[in-house]
Amino acid sequence: MMLHDALAGKRLDKYHIIDFHVHYGKWGVTHLPSHSDAMIAKMDLVGVEKICANGITFPDMAEGNRAVAAFAKRYPDRVVGIAGVYPMNGDMVEELKRCVFDYGFRGIKVHGQMIQFPYRDLDVREIGGQWERVYDFAAEHHLPILYHGVVTEDDILNFPETTFVMAHGMCGLKGRSTKERFARYKNHYVDSPVTQNTPLETLETVKIMGADRILWGTDAPLDDFAHRLGVILDLPIGEEEKLAIFGGNARRLLGLA
């Protein structure tokens, strides 16, 4: 049993864990292993098989994507590149083409507030009118979009061929009725890194959304790999459901063997 192995401090390689939500870059915590190969050593301690790394904390998304690409090239079996795009960094689809065709990235991350002061109150959806092209590109190339802000419920409804994953959505969809409404969209998923994740809300999400619509993630470096395991491992659900959340669902969405 995975829980017993974890409590015994054993490496969990045999459970094929994939962290869907990792930030590669400094992000103000320069003393932590978030922008170096030390992150691989941290994965090894626990037995995390792969991380999906994005570079959206870089002020220049293209630079962040290049850094992630270099990281993924050094560790092709451990790092899955996720493309960061932002309308203030140029044509987003052109950047996506570079990320997918040149770097081999398998997903997209969008965030509504990555460029802060003096543009904190800016609505990035209103810049450049590029978002629909991004969603179409994602659908065409089977790239799941991990979103924090930007994406609206109308987008999820109007782009049914595009896969959307709500970052922090496991406890971010507040209230049972909201969860039930979003559960109806078959192209919608949630991931698990949430600061205020009560066991009650976490279990409610699994019951309403289904374990096959939830992806485990940590938001590293803001959270430790081992710390975030507990959120799922302590749920009163079956081992198969836990394994789906810990990696099976991500493997399917990312098209990994």
Binding site: L7, G28, L32, K42, D224, H227, L229, L233
Partner: protein, 256 residues
């Protein structure tokens, strides 16, 4: 298995039937979850004391945990100028020897909006004289809190302070400053979740920098347990953080 002692959990007089087993929010649920995960001891505080009546809540807590020798009470403390609770020395006399004191620091509501060393001076004097550790439970943790916390740690160096907050990220820079200056500061693990952060801190300031506390039932204790289990620390350091530091504080042991 590490000898876990949960220094930061709360219980109420109720039971939420929709919560997963062990998270009902009462003492039976806490005992069940502790047994399931292998937590040896815990220090719960009372939700009634935090949000209804300090004195009634503290007494209710004592009654609730009486059948559970593995539980040690955490008494809410507050200024007594209104007369709604006993003066600090009388309050301490009501507390079992192995107890923690707690202040819920919340700028929006209830008893302690900010740590004010003049207003709460008598409380700190009494706690320090009896070496009763103080758990400071912050609803938020802003930069302004650092200044006030510094005054407390500096003014009462013999008072062990357990600092709990929802979560820190880049704000942890102020913690490095406080750890460096004050030996009596112990940060509760539940809010400190940074990748590889614990190892960095312990390397510089020693294992006394952290104590295990889960923020149960809002968080599963398993989060911080696994964080510590998988840390790159010596077994001795892990044991201190898991519970031995707080056990020493509860027994009023004084470092040589």
């Amino acid at each position: 298995m590490l000898p876990f002692l949960d220094a930061a959990c709360v219980i109420g007089p109720y039971a939420n039937p929709e919560s997963p087993p062990g998270y009902e929010g009462n003492v039976a649920g806490l005992a069940l979850k502790m047994a399931e995960l292998g937590i040896v001891e815990a220090c719960p505080s009372s939700i009634t004391a935090s949000f209804y009546c300090v004195d009634e809540g503290n007494q209710e807590l004592l009654q609730a945990i009486e059948p559970y020798p593995q539980l040690h009470p955490v008494f809410l403390v507050a200024p007594n100028q209104t007369g709604e609770m006993p003066p600090p020395d009388q309050l301490l006399a009501k507390m079992p020897t192995m107890s923690l004191a707690k202040m819920l620091v919340d700028e929006v509501q209830f008893y302690t909006p900010l740590i004010d060393v003049e207003l709460y001076g008598e409380v700190f004097d009494a706690l320090a004289a009896s070496r009763t550790p103080l758990l400071l439970d912050y609803a938020n943790f802003f930069h302004e809190h650092t200044f006030r916390l510094r005054e407390l740690l500096k003014g009462w160096p013999q008072l062990p302070v357990l600092l709990k907050f929802p979560k820190v990220a880049c704000e942890e820079r102020v913690l490095y400053y406080l750890w460096e200056k004050f030996e009596n500061l112990h940060v509760v693990m539940s809010g400190y979740q940074l990748l590889g952060g614990i190892e960095k801190v312990v390397e510089r300031f020693g294992a006394r920098a952290f104590v295990f506390g889960s923020n149960y039932p809002y968080f599963t204790p398993l989060q911080s347990m696994l964080h510590l289990i998988y840390c790159e620390l010596s077994d001795g350091d892990k044991r201190l953080i898991a519970g031995d530091t707080v056990r020493g504080l509860l027994r009023k042991e004084v470092a040589a």
